[in-house]
């Protein structure tokens, strides 16, 4: 699936990046809007940056538990910033592949 973003990038049917290297910060607001998040605040960016950094360092997206503990944004706030699942949504906006975990 090619994206509706201005630069052609490859994404899976759910909208997750197949090649994380193709992501740029400028794409994030568009991807967020697709998922119903109108505006990315500093708090959103704190989570997005943490997600991406953790993926690039570990090769895998952090669990929701790690996200809540290490990103500086607690679980309650994560679900306010990204309703409908912060771990998946933040991963999508951060241009990393779909996380596959049960936690």
């Amino acid at each position: 699936m090619t994206t509706t973003l201005e630069t052609p990038v490859e994404r899976d049917p759910e909208g997750f990046f197949v090649h994380p290297e193709q992501w740029t910060e400028a794409m994030a607001p568009d991807i967020a809007r697709e998922s119903g998040i109108g505006e990315l605040t500093d708090r959103h960016w704190q989570v997005i940056n943490f997600m991406r950094r953790a993926y690039l360092e570990n090769g895998t997206a952090p669990s929701i538990r790690t996200l809540g503990k290490a990103s500086g944004v607690p679980i309650k706030e994560l679900y306010h910033l990204f309703p409908k699942g912060p771990a998946k949504l933040a991963a999508k906006i951060a241009g990393i592949p779909k996380p596959r975990g049960c936690i």
Binding site: R65, P74, K84, G85, K88, C102
Partner: protein, 168 residues
Amino acid sequence: MTDLLEHPQSVTPPPPTIEKVSIIISRGSLEGIYPGLIMANGARMEGIDANLFFTFFGLDAINQAKHEHVKVATVGNPGLHLATWAGGLPGVSAVVTHKFAADMEKLDIPPIPEFVEMIADSGAGLYACKASVDMFGLTIDDFVPQVRDIITVGEFYGLAAGGQIIFT
């Protein structure tokens, strides 16, 4: 492009999604409590509304005096592939529980008290079963603060209406 068919093709409806789950936890062993917690947390991670209803020994998961001491059942538990007589020896349940806890920590699965708090923070509703609470002589003060209320089975069905019910 012209449509060659006489009648326009109807749009395929999107696949049905689950919007809400209400999960009952009725067991008090480690392996009896975790599946319900994983289901509830997993639901919230997918944006699915979730309720957790603790009944019978499942109340131990939300009981402040008990929730740090939940053990693996090592006697008469065929899934463990451990002879019943061996499972009954003093200390075996504690050792097996410790091993499971360590394995789960490696997978970033939290211990029960932390997990319950996480699930509540994600917006799930936590409830205690009134019949069991009455039977064990407990009050709302015995439970972790995240428990919203003590409710009857009828009230549970009301909360669960329109969604799926999962019994564990």
